[in-house]
Amino acid sequence: MKPNLAVTIGGVNMKNPVTTASGTFGFGREYGPYIDINRLGAIVVKGTTLEPREGNATPRLVETPAGILNSIGLQNPGADYLVEHYAPYFATLQTRVIVNISGNTVEEYARLAAKLDGVPGIAGLEVNISCPNVKKGGMAFGSHPATAAQVTKAVKQATALPVIVKLSPNVTDIGEIARAVEAAGADGLSVMNTLLGMAIDVRKRKPVLGNIMGGLSGPAVKPVAVRAVWQVYRAVKLPIIGMGGITTAEDALEFILAGATAVAVGTANFVNPRATLDVLEGIEAYLVENSITDIKELVGAAHR
């Protein structure tokens, strides 16, 4: 018998728990030649802001052991462009599209959420309060329970769409932030964004990245991300999208056992454009092998 893979993240109904990490999958179309993206439970598209953004100076990406540091800096064409040029494409897909949003101020988050409300093709919002690569906003909001709650509340009030708040691991107590965001009305959580890091070129005696610091992702961060999901699962009742270094189904299952209802594949897409489908097929095979009829039975099972 085929196991039931369907999950719901705060009102976003996904036919299976596999999605993409924002910023690693463009707007979906870029991966069209390699996989049928309609097979995914959802796709989370590139971070979008109210106004277009140019992003940071290059180099924006450098490889580190089993990981990468990136400092893209939220380059994106802006909300109006997204609504006009990408949303019609999203509406043709047989998968849910979640738009990742960022702002410099609480008000900007709210205006952006209002603008995307009711746009056909958009199934939910992922609120990025954890970007380490922008000077204003981003991680600054996600580092304090009060500001994290403020952003959440403002976005909730501005839209009827499901609101998933993306947390930063660059905090002392991620559980505390999760509780504040839950109390402010969030429908789900994404855990986690990148870890703040940097690399120095010893020949040039200069930081490698144009922006000096960047966010670490990829296999190197997986244990940190599994820990973060574990702690957030203990702290709140909200459904979690787990991510950070997932490259295989086994990695994804670790997140699910730690408490994630869904999983997102990020950096691994760069290495293996088929990574999302490999993860999906591997999860399904694991369920069949272990005679588990519903993926939801596994969510948080390591806590029990």
């Binding site: 870029e30 990981g67 454009p273």
Partner: protein, 262 residues
């Protein structure tokens, strides 16, 4: 349409100091590729090095289904690539990016290559030769030992003029310095350039001054290779507006007069 496939190594050999020539069995990529495009290569199946490495398509043989690469060992990834043996399998993704704009058949064109920059230009010159173009190649290297592809260019019927930094072969100096003493390129339909950034910048300025259209091949650190991650951006000026373009998807070939050099 780009593909991801496991390609068998059919040949790998050193051709100059730290420089290797490699043939891969990749018929689908060979069939689809155009000059100037690249492949994104997984140098190992481990997580370190993690990312693929972009390498230009040096040459293809469509009847044999062969994709040829020419690369310099500069770090971990290219070092692992150089250690591959005949029969090993390498995962490659491609062809990627936008290639060179080809001139009208029979045109007079120039090609300027510096160091490993010669790699993608061999495929280009082959295509130009098929189109009966008259090609002059301005070929530069550090020294005679590091000169690449001169024989291939001659065999394809191109006129080859050589510059070496130390004067061990041909003109003593850089490619742009050599080009200043020549006039052929000033009357071409197009000049194609690939080499170190400084050389491309200098030649782009010369082309602009002489009012000759040119194309350059840019490099940037890459993640996805397919236009999704925005790691590989360069500044391009178009109609007075400067925007970020992606080397992997909008390039790697760009009009020489549009590049904003830093």
């Amino acid at each position: 349409m780009s593909k991801v496939l496991d390609a068998k190594v059919m040949a790998v050999l050193p051709v100059a100091p730290e420089t290797y020539y490699m043939e891969l069995e990749a018929p689908e990529i060979a069939r689809l590729a155009v000059p100037g495009q690249f492949v994104h290569v997984r140098c190992s199946n481990s997580q370190d090095p993690l990312l693929r490495r972009p390498i230009s398509i040096h040459m293809v043989s469509r009847p044999k289904g062969i994709l040829a690469l020419l690369f310099r060992v500069v770090g971990k990834g290219t070092e692992l690539l150089a250690q591959k043996q005949i029969g090993d399998v390498i995962n490659v993704m491609g062809p990627l990016g936008r290639g060179f704009t080809l001139p009208l058949p029979g045109s007079r064109v120039a090609v300027a290559a510096g160091g490993i920059g010669a790699a993608p230009l061999v495929f280009l010159v082959q295509e130009l030769a098929n189109m009966k173009c008259q090609v002059t190649v301005y070929l530069g290297a550090r020294d005679k030992k590091n000169l690449l592809c001169d024989g291939q260019f001659v065999q394809m019927g191109a006129e080859v003029v050589i510059a070496t930094d130390d004067g061990s072969l041909g003109f003593k100096g850089t490619v742009p310095e050599m080009m200043r003493r020549h006039n052929d390129w000033r009357r071409t339909a197009m000049t194609y350039v690939c080499g170190p950034k400084g050389m491309m910048k200098e030649i782009s300025a010369m082309l602009a001054e002489a009012d000759v259209p040119g194309e350059v091949t840019l490099e940037e650190h890459m993640g996805c290779g397919v236009g999704a991650c925005l790691s590989c951006t360069v500044k391009i000026a178009h109609h007075g507006q400067i925007t970020n373009k992606r080397v992997c998807a909008d390039g790697p070939v760009f009009p020489s007069w549009q590049v904003v050099w830093d």
